[in-house]
């Protein structure tokens, strides 16, 4: 993982056409893809949980949201940092940005839900919200896009002509970030499982103490 990250920074100096700021692109694009992928994982895991009632899937769904919200935050921060010098605005209400913002809110709502409901219903309710939230994403995207076509579009969507080395860089960065994402996700899942195991053991010990 570290190796992959290091690779980005070795390759990156090759591209200096737009200045240092442009390099954020290598973080921004993969993060965006992963933010949406994470929620897709949550969607599938939620459905599997409701179907199989195996708490393993609930753990996957929940960890995917936590990982996803991190990447989504990265997207929302790197976006404006990149946009300001280039387009001279911090924010536009274009479909992609706005949908990502709504996605971020959906993530946060999911996490708030998990914090407030009782343990025995937590998995069920989170799964339902995970499903509803994900289905809402494409619908939101289309309605915002429809909305934007009616208003004059201030900034046209970005279309780059990327030179060869830049494309390679992007690909590597992309792979590196995917790798990073899955590493974080897996460690988070492992951490969660250990936590659950520890609490189970605590409970067993507690009961044994009562018996004495």
């Amino acid at each position: 993982m570290l190796l992959a990250l290091y690779t980005i920074f070795i390759y990156a100096p090759l591209e200096k056409t737009m200045g240092v700021i442009q390099k954020i692109f290598y973080i921004h694009v993969p993060s965006a893809f992963l933010a949406y992928l994470a929620f897709f994982i949550t969607f599938v895991a939620s459905i599997l949980y409701l179907y199989r009632k195996d708490s393993k899937w609930d753990t996957v769904a929940h960890c995917a949201v936590e990982t996803g919200v991190v990447f989504c935050t990265i997207v929302l921060i790197t976006g404006p940092i990149w946009a300001k010098p280039i387009w001279n605005v911090w924010w536009t209400w274009d479909p992609r940005l706005t949908t990502t913002l709504i996605l971020w809110f959906t993530y946060v709502a999911y996490l708030m839900l998990r914090r407030t409901v009782k343990e025995n219903q937590r998995a069920n309710l989170s799964a339902v919200f995970g499903i509803i939230g994900f289905i809402n994403v494409p619908i939101t995207f289309f309605s915002i896009r429809l909305w934007r076509t009616i208003h004059p579009v201030v900034i046209s969507s970005r279309g780059f002509n990327m030179s060869g080395p830049m494309k390679v860089s992007l690909l590597i960065a992309f792979l590196a970030f995917c790798f990073l994402f899955f590493c974080i996700l897996m460690s988070r899942i492992r951490l969660e499982r250990s936590k659950m195991r520890v609490e189970e053991l605590n409970e067993i010990i507690g009961v044994m103490n009562i018996k004495k």
């Binding site: 009782k118 343990e119 025995n120 609490e199 189970e200 409970e203 009961v207 009562i210």
Partner: protein
């Protein structure tokens, strides 16, 4: 078919987060049986009753009642169950009559127009049929709750400390009701703190402690007046002061 019991719980476990309320409980009852559950507070009596009547889903284990499983045959199962719990399930802004009319409609009771006055009479609330439940005393609400639970003439009654709030007359009426119920071959499962009453009304006894059944016996096999001692023995020094009226 192999010997399938009328009410069958196998390996029933219920956890709330990491707290285990019921541990690996097995219960086998036939139609017409009556079981009373005793145990200290927090033993899991209410949890067990709620799990059996499908208000709670077991964390693991299986429950079959009259051949029905909770999720698969939900409506059929609910049709034959009556439940009285800590909450009355009554709508405060509706009258006694309207509450019974609502539950009667939900349970698709035939001949509801005759059944409601009949039930009101059974629980001694005929005079209050058009009064808003909010104006009822706790005892009256409990009576109406009993009416609500029996309106569809269920095959099985799940009772969780049903005598709470009832006055002397109310308790006597309810005892009569349970005995009538049993005479007609219905099944009763009751959780109670009243040792004496419980043994009078039911023919099997179970004592629950920390989510386990620590004692299960037919009432007929218990020596008279010995039960209080047996109870203290199983529950230990931390047994609360029980009502033996």
């Amino acid at each position: 078919m192999n010997s399938e019991h009328y009410i069958e719980a196998k390996g029933l476990t219920k956890k709330f987060g990491y707290k285990t309320a019921l541990r690996n409980i097995d219960i086998f009852l036939e139609q017409g049986d009556s079981l009373v559950l005793f145990g200290p507070n927090g033993a899991g009596k209410s949890t067990l009753i709620q799990a059996l009547c499908s208000l709670l889903q077991p964390t693991s284990g299986s429950i079959r009642i009259a051949g029905y499983e909770a999720q698969r045959d939900r409506e059929a199962l609910h049709q034959i169950i009556g439940y009285i719990g800590h909450q009355t399930f009554l709508y405060p802004h509706l009258t006694a009559y309207e509450n019974l009319k609502f539950y009667g409609a939900m349970y698709a009771v035939a001949g509801l127009n005759e059944r409601i006055p009949e039930v009101l009479g059974l629980v001694g609330l005929s005079r209050y049929r058009n009064d808003i439940v909010q104006s009822f005393s706790r005892g009256m609400q409990q009576r109406l709750s009993i009416g609500r639970a029996i309106i569809h003439d269920p095959m099985i009654m799940f009772l969780d400390e049903p005598f709470t709030g009832l006055d002397q007359q109310g308790s006597e009426d309810f005892i009569k009701l349970i005995l009538q119920f049993r005479d007609r071959g219905k099944t009763v499962i009751m959780a109670s703190h009243h040792l004496h009453l419980g043994i009078e009304l039911c023919d099997r006894v179970a004592i629950l402690k920390s989510g386990r059944i620590v004692y299960l016996q037919d009432v007929a096999r218990i020596p008279k007046n010995d039960f209080k001692r047996i109870y203290s023995q199983h529950v230990g020094e931390n047994a609360p002061a029980l009502k033996v009226a």
